[in-house]
Amino acid sequence: MPTPTKGARLGGSPSHQRAMLANLATALFEHGRITTTEARARRLRPVAERLITKAKRGDLHARRQVLGTIRDKDVVHTLFAEIGPRYENRNGGYTRIVKIGPRKGDNAPMAVIELVEPLAEQVVSEATSATRRAAGGSSAAAPAAAAAAEAEVTADVAGESKDEPTAAEAAVDEAEGTGDEPAADAADGEAADGDDESGSDSAEKA
């Protein structure tokens, strides 16, 4: 459920804010990293990430929806051809905001908002195979923990100092995701049973 933004619109009116966020998103996808005020970066983040999610979907409808925000077709093409596929393995969190201190002139707090690096390929494939094996197991918690541990090991093997923490986190996330699935299945099964009983009851009444 998207919550409405609190407080005044950026630039004073809703249309001004929409135009400003569209321009900022266009610049972000064109350059990969932009410097802006902290308030604008905070507002831009959900807008840009929603557009990237659409780009990951990649169909014509998604493209037309994105074109409603970003008017530049070249940028939309880059978004769908390069940026979307780059984040295939990442579920949200495509941007990073780093504060860089006040601006000279009006002392406005500035920030850099940038597209994050894609997850390392090898680690991700390892993690997915681990989760597939974990999904075959009987109990939910133990395989998830094992997968998480394995993912950490693979991340260590990958050994790139920058990508290491993010990759490990992602692997752990995926492992947790599989841990949830059996519980959800069980809940569904119970719900189905309940429906069956109620159905039989109604049949008896009839």
Partner: protein, 67 residues
């Protein structure tokens, strides 16, 4: 236009003015190339070479654009 209904007393004026104070900035000490620098928390800082030339901005061990 809104106008004040009553005169603001000298006491109230002086109380208001006395609340306007400077705050100490929260900075951390850091040694870089043998020189002591001060960094503000949760903010990117500029990395310099030994000559004191600014190279790039860094935060959390990650490069964040040019200086």
């Amino acid at each position: 236009m809104a106008v004040p209904k009553r005169k603001m007393s000298r006491s109230n004026t002086r109380h208001r003015r006395s609340q306007w104070k400077a705050k100490l900035p929260q900075v951390q000490k850091r040694t870089q190339n043998g020189r002591t620098t001060w960094v503000v928390a949760h903010r990117a800082h500029v990395v310099e070479d030994s000559q004191g030339t600014a190279l790039f901005r860094e935060y959390n061990g990650r490069q964040v654009g040019d200086a």
